[in-house]
């Protein structure tokens, strides 16, 4: 099967030819399969944001090709614009892009640009609002009256309402309280399951990535340093730490327990896994 998105030797250099020349990403090859939940982690300035903006044609690569379902998305202006509706991108702090008089109108902005019928737009707006658990009562309020968490969800709904086949989110939980984070992650999971969509999520939180995604990519200095399941990636603790990142805290606890002599699996990366390991040990008769 052709991957839904493919990057082929993509490089991007900012401000080429000035003293501020800066390589965003270099020679990135990446295949993203239909229905995948992909996590992207990396240090600040590692090129994550640059890379994801290539996926829907917002940034054109200075070298290399980007394919959506096997077609070059930068082939013409029309294809690039078309892809934006199929690959929805939620930027970091998306609440800063809210602008309409009401939440309803703001969510409808994307679908309206797709030139859909009014009935279709209405359906999509309400469905998107349900996905992110925005109550009916806020739909006619000004987006600027909402709380921080609600603003964030309204902004995400604005992208979900376009019903993209691929949903990309750049740190969707940054700056939210733990409960707000969990809610957003649940909303995204639900969207993926119900729509069969592909989801790509950039995050700084190893815990979040560890318990949500099926595959993760680690960016370092503008290229992909690691690519695999969280199990594979977090097993390489030393390498990850050398890139200025860290493994989930649970993995650290597991490691300490192992150092104390408990036979625990090397690649524990969620609390649930550790709990299973420990209860299994207790069942085996060892006191801990």
């Amino acid at each position: 099967m052709t991957p839904i998105i493919e990057l082929e030797k993509v490089s991007h250099v900012y401000s080429e030819g000035t003293p501020f020349e800066l390589a965003g990403i270099r020679d990135v090859n990446l295949k993203i399969e239909q229905g995948e939940f992909l996590g992207i982690i990396g240090h600040t300035g590692s090129g994550k944001s640059t890379m994801i903006q290539h996926l829907n044609g917002l940034i054109k690569p200075t070298a290399g090709k980007v394919y959506f379902k096997g077609e070059d998305i930068n082939a013409s202006k029309e294809t690039a614009r078309d892809v934006r509706f199929k690959v929805g991108l939620v930027f970091q702090y998306p609440e800063y892009q809210l602008f309409e008089e009401t939440v309803y109108k703001d969510i409808a902005f994307g679908p309206k640009n797709m030139k859909l019928s009014d009935a279709e737009i209405d359906d999509r707006v309400r469905e998107a609002a349900r996905f992110v658990k925005l109550p009916e009562s806020v739909m006619n309020k000004s987006p600027f009256e909402l709380s921080g968490g609600q603003k964030r969800r309204a902004a995400i709904a604005g992208v979900i309402a376009m019903q993209p086949e691929v949903l990309i989110l750049d740190e969707p939980t940054a700056g939210l309280d733990p409960r707000g984070c969990d809610e957003i992650i649940d909303n995204i999971k639900e969207y993926r399951e119900k729509r069969g969509a592909t989801v790509i999520m950039v995050s700084h939180s190893m815990e979040e990535i560890a318990r949500t995604v099926g595959r993760m990519v680690v960016m370092y200095h503008g290229h992909i340093a690691m690519d695999g399941t969280p199990r594979d990636v977090f097993a390489k603790k030393k390498e990850i730490e050398s890139m200025g990142l860290s493994v989930p805290q649970v993995t650290k606890i597991a490691e300490r327990l192992k150092a104390m002599g408990l036979p625990i699996d090397d690649s524990v990366y969620t609390i649930d896994q550790l709990m299973l390991e420990l209860t299994a040990l207790r069942g085996g008769g060892i006191r801990c």
Partner: protein
């Protein structure tokens, strides 16, 4: 894209020009601009051009970067030059139907282009080699005498330095919001003037809101660090004239003398 705008941009460096006192640079640029309009012969522009070329060479700034600043005014430049060529009375060089191209017109157009190009490159050299902070510091020092007549010099320059500081931040912000709205299918490029103006709303509203928010945050941060205006404020970097500053003044004075002599004797 937007980030390519070089208005008021500063390229750090350590050349003689970079290291000149900002007050010196401001005075020299001011004199230079006056001299641009004193000059009225090709010989005088060669003299002034030599000074500019020497400064550019000493600064290490690429000529390409300086010429980039001319791009936005190129249309106005061509338009005024054409008007000058055709509508200046004088000795005709040749005549097309009823419009004649005059010798005086050609000369006026050439002067005009030289003046504007040199004006832009000269002032750009100042902003490219002087950090906004140094620039406003220099301005404040030069305008200090105006405080005697109750001009709020410190407040004005503080506002200016904040404004300058916000330019790159706002450009970045604009870029970001634009990308975000484009990701939702916003179209900023096609359509007629009214459609284009309407299409700007999703960009302008968030931009205004975030500017107000930033201003408020900055005011709060300044107050929480006990900012209270000019009185009793000290500086970490005091402005002191060095030998190179006196040399620059001397060079400028000599150039000015030559230019005025040329103008008076009509070369």
């Amino acid at each position: 894209m937007l980030r390519d705008i070089t208005l008021g941009q500063y390229f750090p460096g350590s050349s003689v020009i970079h290291n000149l006192d900002p007050r010196t640079k401001l005075v020299v640029v001011f004199v230079y601009i006056v001299l641009l309009f004193v000059g009225n012969s090709f010989v005088s522009y060669i003299v002034l051009g030599a000074l500019l070329a020497a400064c550019i060479a000493a600064s290490g700034i690429k000529l390409k970067m300086l010429l980039r600043g001319i791009k936005p005014v190129i249309i106005i430049l061509i338009f005024t030059a054409v008007l000058n060529i055709f509508f200046t009375p004088g000795t005709p060089v040749f005549t097309l139907w009823r419009i004649s191209v005059t010798y005086e017109g050609l000369r006026m157009a050439a002067y005009l282009i030289i003046r504007i190009v040199m004006l832009i490159t000269g002032t750009l050299l100042l902003t490219y080699t002087t950090s906004p902070l140094a620039l406003t510091d220099g301005l404040e020092a030069l305008m200090r005498p105006l405080k005697k007549i109750k001009v709020p010099v410190h407040e004005l320059t503080m506002m200016m330095s904040i404004a300058l500081k916000f330019i790159p931040i706002l450009i970045e912000e604009t870029d970001k919001i634009m990308s975000a709205q484009k990701a939702r299918g916003a179209d900023f490029e096609t359509g007629n003037l009214i459609q284009k103006a309407k299409a700007m709303m999703p960009l302008l509203i968030p931009l205004f809101i975030s500017s107000l928010r930033r201003a408020e945050e900055l005011a709060m941060a300044m107050e929480s660090r006990c900012y209270h205006g000019d009185d009793g404020r000290t500086r970490m970097k005091q402005l002191v004239f060095a030998g190179r500053d006196y040399a620059a003044f001397a060079l400028t004075a000599v150039t000015a003398a030559v230019m005025i002599t040329l103008a008076v004797f009509g070369f």
